[in-house]
């Protein structure tokens, strides 16, 4: 079965970068450019992993993550925060709102693939 990943980032370059990396590795990738867009996608189908940015217009990544964790079907699926905000305070906040992994940008492609694989296991 193909694992489904939702990528949430308002930066088109990041979205394309992640899509180009993850799709050839065998994942089905869906993208969203905002928190609201992401919540809509989450209602449309079931995802196995979510990668999200923190700094986004409107709903930021922390708020989005907290909202996702309130959804019954997404209480336990892995959420990876991939962000340029990398202070210890941000990391703590990310983990507090329910992220499983907090990764500073830019992260090496092979490392990201390994972490995604490991999170899905």
């Amino acid at each position: 079965m193909v694992n489904k990943i939702l990528v949430v980032d308002d930066d088109e370059l990041v979205v394309v970068a992640l899509e180009e990396l993850l799709a050839p590795a065998g994942y089905e990738v869906t993208t969203a450019c905002s928190g609201n867009d992401a919540l809509q996608r989450l209602n449309e189908k079931r995802f196995d992993l979510i990668i999200l940015d923190i700094i986004m217009p409107g709903m930021n990544g922390f708020d989005l993550c907290a909202k996702i964790r309130q959804l019954e079907q997404y209480r336990t699926i892995p959420i990876i925060m991939l962000t340029a905000k990398s202070s210890a305070e941000d990391k703590k906040k990310g983990i507090d709102v329910g992220a499983n992994l907090f990764l500073p940008k830019p992260i090496a492609p092979q490392r990201l693939l390994d972490l995604v694989k490991s999170a899905l296991q």
């Binding site: 180009e20 990396l21 492609p109």
Partner: protein
Amino acid sequence: MQKIFVSSTGAGSGHSLAVWSLMEVFRSRGIRTGFFKPFVTRPVSHGGTVVDHDALLIKEYYQLPEPPEVLSPIIPEEVPGDEVAREEQLEKIDDCFQQAKDDNEVLVIMGSDQIFYEADSPYIADTSMVVKLDASVVLTACYQSESMTIYSVLAIESLLKNRLKMIIINQIPPEQLDTVQRRLGPLFSKRGLPPVFFLPQDRILSSVTVRQLIEVVGGSVLAGEDRLENLVETTSISSTHLKGSLNIFRRIYNKIILLGIEKEALSGPSASPTVTGIILTGGRTPAPLVCNTCEDLKVPLILSPLDTFITMERIQHQKMHVTHQDDYKLQRFLQLLGGEKARESIVANFTNL
């Protein structure tokens, strides 16, 4: 003054050669160009002190007045990773940076081993240094696959935004070069990325000299002293490549045949690898006839004190970095970038900023 920060996505990207090439392009046009590398990433001993290999290379090749400790001031291992130490590092970097940029029109700044985030890295991230030094960026990437290369370039562009001014994608398998160029070129261009130089894997860039292998195995020269700059691409313990008078070596078992390109053939058309040297292992000096044969054939003959297995292992695991003696690699890298046209484009790209 233009500050050009050269970053790398990791090993094999041609980081050092890209830095050297930029220095060469600007300096050959009479543009005063300096070098700076905040962190020592390849420590070597020089005159009793630890300095950076690349800083030493550039200093020696261009006879720069600044000592290597100024060109690359911070040895991360010496400093614990606390906030106070980090502040001291930044002060020292700033002080040496001012000295390195003094009187120059262009300053080429070399980043650490890779631009990607590493949890335990002792270096201040390249992405932070670029902002601190207010520099434009050249990104060098070792081609791994289309997907990884696209991801790497776009992920970095998304962070650096319009600071990224040039991209070099290196080590593309020659049979994939056209396909990669056709797919990645338009994809990057459509998204407003800067010029991309696509470089194939190259036998000259990936080779080492016989002289360098002598250092690696701790060997001594028995014949062909004037041919030690011959290039070595591969090694073999079989006698298949021994032709003519070299047949004498078929009866010698403790040998390693070095195959590559003779120094004189570098500028000529690409030819099959030839015997560019022979290593005798086990430390036993051969009969004079063997040495004389090599001398007559102008094939370097090296004596390794180690046995064949260990000698081979050392050769296979050697990690030679370019030195100031490897200017043939510099010329080759510039040629692969696109020769004179590329030089003009680089100068125009950075002097018009």
